[in-house]
């Protein structure tokens, strides 16, 4: 008994560091690239190397953003609401549906080929139909983006649910778990990494779906604004809208990454916290 209690392995520090670690070098390099892009964005148009219509300088873009901040904020809010609602539909439903499809053999065989085939269809061509059905307001954007983000979420989650350790679901079954309990308490936590990965992918597509839909046919939203400035040949307006859309996409990605870190980090922290009286 004493014998096998002494075999708990605890990870030490992240290894001996000689000089600057690879991680730090990579980080410096990353920031340098971003800084270079920002500097180039300002200098290249200033020097007249590129016509200002094609690329307005960073300062004029930011000035545009400031001058019309109220309008940008209102339109951004519309887009955020649409993205939020579509995320709930696409990812919420997509994850649950994917878990069910992935963990049920017959359903998987029946439905997965259909979902995969649909994924190959360029859904954008259906957007005019969506506006006919749901109008050119927010509803059509939410529905379109939901469908757009749903398929990769379902496929990713189903793939994750399919590869979990079958022993775990069998153990749960031996404890009398119902089908729903197995999905919620075993399949879902066991496939968290793939679920988060597909949430990240699905969410990114939801943002794409909303913005593209707004650009094509709409009366509000940041995509609508971008489209409007384009027809007015207002380049700094277009670039200001692009900056906001980039910020939205990057913000979403960072949020999901934080969730991912929290999950894996939680496991790692507990690993480091050795039981007080262990040998």
């Amino acid at each position: 008994m004493a014998y096998d209690q002494s075999v708990t392995h605890v990870p030490r520090g992240s290894g001996a560091s000689v000089g600057i670690s690879l991680e730090t070098k990579a980080r410096i390099c990353r920031y340098a690239i971003i800084a270079a892009v920002i500097v180039a964005w300002e200098i290249v148009p200033q020097l007249g190397l590129v016509p200002r219509l094609f690329l307005p300088s960073l300062s004029s873009t930011l000035a545009m953003l400031m001058a019309h901040s109220g309008d940008f904020a209102v339109q951004m809010l519309v887009t955020l609401q649409e993205v939020g609602m579509a995320l709930v539909f696409a990812c919420g439903f997509g994850i649950l549906f994917g878990l069910w499809v992935g963990s049920t053999l017959t359903v998987r065989k029946a439905l997965l080929p259909v979902v995969s085939a649909l994924f190959a269809v360029p859904l954008v061509v259906l957007y005019p139909l969506f506006t006919a059905w749901f109008g050119i307001g927010s509803a059509s954007k939410v529905v379109f983006a939901s469908v757009y983000g749903l398929l990769p979420t379902v496929l990713g989650t189903a793939a994750g649910a399919q590869t979990i350790d079958r022993q775990l679901t069998q153990a749960a079954r031996s404890m009398g778990a119902t089908r729903l309990q197995q999905i919620l308490w075993v399949t879902l936590p066991a496939s968290v990494p793939t679920v988060l990965a597909s949430f990240r992918l699905g969410g990114a597509l939801v943002i794409v779906g909303v913005v593209v839909a707004e650009m094509m046919m709409s009366s509000a939203g940041i995509g609508f604004l971008l489209s409007k400035y384009r027809t007015q040949l207002n380049s700094s307006g277009v670039f200001a809208a692009i900056i906001l859309i980039l910020a939205l996409a990057i913000g979403f990605d960072l949020a999901v990454q934080a969730i991912e870190r929290r999950w894996t980090g939680g496991v790692r922290n507990k690993a480091a916290r050795r039981p007080a009286d262990a040998p």
Binding site: D4, Q167, Q170, S174, M175, P189, V267, A271, P275
Partner: protein, 282 residues
């Protein structure tokens, strides 16, 4: 395939009659601890090719006994255990626990300990042990208390907050045993629980299991491919043949209890081992 449907029909019929003859409130005092397997046959088909896995299996285990099932690999001993757990439906035959037929997993009657511990890696030892109670909607305080009791029984109360990957193989298997015991089922099924452990830990775990068994007063059905392990632990060893698995013999192990390691060196132990080995080899 027609054979399978016939078999299913016959199971239904059997269950129907059993239910009417032996009701849920069987009067036998210790009936809850008895396991009764009758006329069990199992065939499965893969790509249209039908294979018989188990043939004419019939045995019973009385309350509080420790029995092992041994046999050559592929003889269907693990399948048999999964059937006793209600996880696999036999093509034909009847399994009753405490006088009542068992058709689906019922952790209040049968607890299962799997070969590779099968702990949920995202839950602490305590939450793993609580899990079967959680599924049944037991209140949090009660759950916690029972889980702590079970962990104390297997000597792991100090590791309640550890995650599975922080525990050694032997400790994981003890958590798994605690999880099997937590609902207090009269029968504990164990599917080669120590197979993945090293020799030394396996022997330690064997003694540990005997201690738990004596304290918890359970009926244990233990599947293993280790003959010494089976003889050392059991009151009786059920010897299965190669596929299709049939019961070759039930060998009563008349070594005195408590068992100790030096018994393995005794001639009686060697004789038993020799006898079982010959049965399996033939």
């Amino acid at each position: 395939m027609p054979r399978m449907t016939q078999a299913t029909a016959s199971i239904r019929k059997r269950h129907g009659t059993t239910m009417s003859v032996v009701g849920p409130d069987h009067p036998a005092a210790d009936a809850g601890k008895t396991l009764d397997v009758r006329d069990l046959n199992h065939t499965y088909s893969v790509n249209g090719k039908t294979t018989q896995a188990l043939q004419d299996i019939a045995f019973n285990v009385s309350a509080g006994r420790f029995i092992s099932i041994v046999g050559p690999s592929g003889c269907g001993k693990s399948s048999l255990l999964m059937m006793l757990a209600g996880l696999l439906t036999p093509s034909e035959g009847r399994i009753a626990v405490g006088g009542r037929p068992l058709v689906k997993p019922d952790p209040t009657r049968v607890g299962v300990v799997f070969q590779d511990a099968s702990l949920f890696p995202w839950l602490t030892a305590r939450r793993n042990v609580e899990f079967p109670l959680f599924l049944r909607g037991v209140a949090k305080a009660v759950r916690r208390e029972k889980a702590e009791e079970a962990l104390a029984l297997v000597g792991l109360e100090r590791f309640a907050d550890s995650l599975p990957h922080e525990l050694s193989g032997g400790m994981k298997q003890r958590v798994s045993i605690a999880r099997g015991l937590v609902q207090d089922p009269p029968i504990l099924l164990m599917d080669e629980p120590f197979a993945a452990l090293d020799e030394q830990t396996r022997i330690t775990m064997g003694d540990e299991l005997l201690r738990i068994w004596e304290k918890a007063r359970k009926t244990i059905v233990f599947v293993t491919h280790g003959l010494s392990e089976a003889i050392y632990l059991s009151d009786e060893v059920l010897v299965l043949s190669g596929r299709p698995g049939r019961i070759l013999d039930r060998v009563a192990i008349d070594l005195p209890r408590p068992r100790s390691l030096d018994m393995m060196a005794q001639p009686r132990f060697a004789d038993l081992r020799e006898a079982i080995w010959h049965m399996i080899k033939a």
